[in-house]
Subunit: 245 residues, 2 copies
DNA sequence: GAGTGGTCTAGACCACTCA
DNA sequence: GAGTGGTCTAGACCACTCA
């Protein structure tokens, strides 16, 4: 769940214990994405600590974007369904301006057996059942990203093509609302490759065109990987942007 | 300096004002990188506020990695000279393992006039004087990055080749100690391109090899840009890594 | 005006470092 | 054991939201 007690003494501050209890309620689904959690005063009573200690726990969860605070209104479970967080992890942006709209065009959707490599990233057994989604993304209407998404069958047993259609480029919102799988953070590895075959065809490019390959593993609470995504991006008019602190 | 008062009322919390005062002392050089700032109690007295308010200001600066706290020892101005932060912004890592060592080989070092594009990024006048550093980086001894670094003359008037040699791949540490320019964060734009000419030659590749182009602008306190860097990376054995929350 | 999160204080005590 | 940052409390008051 959390690296809480690496020291020898086993000392764990109260607010870390509270943070853990709150996270457990999130994992269990007691508080669903988008809905408010109890007020700081109520939580203080519930856990028999001061408001300040609850605040510290909530602050850490807010800084991880797991909770969202709104002064005067309350504290909410973060959700990918909200307008403000429309493309929270999308780092590909047009060189001029920002992303307003992304169109998604589904190519196909299969049940697959997860190969060694993919199963490793998803932390499931090789050959276990999963899903493959292939699609084209078009930021600002420009079809510039070819994408393959692999999902473990265990977490997404009942997924159907209609669900993908209904949510288009809001897949993470669909994971949340239908499968109670909230994506909390992602890790990406980026390479430059030479495009060939179907991928360049789909993007309207010629064999040999350079592509940005982005391999993403998406994690839910507890650092559990639940999605593997490979994107191939035409970066002639787009860039992968990153701010590092 | 800081987006502190965007609201209509002009209300600025005390701890934000303290944060600003601390930042001013950092900009002025009152507290240099690597050295300790006064204790929380001393700062509380100095600014006539409670320890808690100082803590809140310091906490924000610590989360921005501008200050570093060490329990029992004190609070220090973050520095690129410390071992723990050896490659704070380097996102290129070998596919197997982590970066232990990066060799830097200087190609050349010139005084230049900054072109339109570069001057724009550095927020100085077109044609104003600057410096160009060209070099090859070799993570784990593998020469896989060609790099061009442009510096504004205004901040680095007295830079010399020997300084670059002495600091090798610790340039940001050199900026700090010699020019009192501490890099606080960087912004990068990444593209996939086809390599050609001198760049591929330098990396021991053939014309047409795919390269990851990373364009970086580095900022000091006050969001002031002070370095423009273009890197071209051979990503056959390396990846650009990124965690997004 | 009631309820929420946000700020600020004063004070107690704890964990850690270093001489 | 003195000094540092780290945690926790109880209480006051502020800014903001919403009915």
């Amino acid at each position: 769940m959390e690296l809480v007690s690496d020291n020898n003494t086993g000392y764990v501050p109260l607010y870390r214990q509270i943070k853990r209890l709150i996270t457990e309620s999130l994992v269990s689904g007691e508080w669903a994405p988008g809905s408010p959690i109890p007020s700081e005063m109520e939580l203080a009573q519930r856990y028999s600590v001061s408001q300040g200690t609850v605040r510290k726990a909530v602050s850490e969860l807010a800084s991880q974007k797991i909770l969202v605070r709104h002064q005067g209104k309350g504290t909410f479970v973060a959700s990918h369904s909200q307008e403000s967080t429309k493309f929270p992890f999308l780092r590909i942006t047009p060189d001029s301006g920002v992303v307003e709209e992304v169109d998604a065009r589904l190519l196909d959707f299969w049940r697959i057996k997860l190969d060694d490599h993919s199963a490793g990233f998803l932390n499931v057994a090789e050959g276990s059942s999963g899903w493959l989604i292939r699609r084209i993304l078009a930021p600002e209407g420009e079809e510039s990203i070819y994408e393959e998404i692999r999902l473990p069958g265990s977490s997404f047993e009942t997924i159907e093509e209609s669900m993908i259609h209904d949510h288009q480029c809001m897949l993470y919102s669909m994971y949340e609302s239908i499968f109670n799988v909230r994506i909390v953070y992602v890790e990406e590895r980026v390479k430059a490759i030479i495009g060939e075959g179907e991928i360049v065809d789909r993007l309207g490019l010629l064999d040999g065109a350079p592509l940005l390959k982005v391999e993403r593993v998406a994690y839910t609470y507890d650092d559990r990987p639940v999605e593997l995504r490979r994107s191939y991006c035409n970066t002639t008019k787009h860039s992968y942007r990153n701010k590092i602190i």
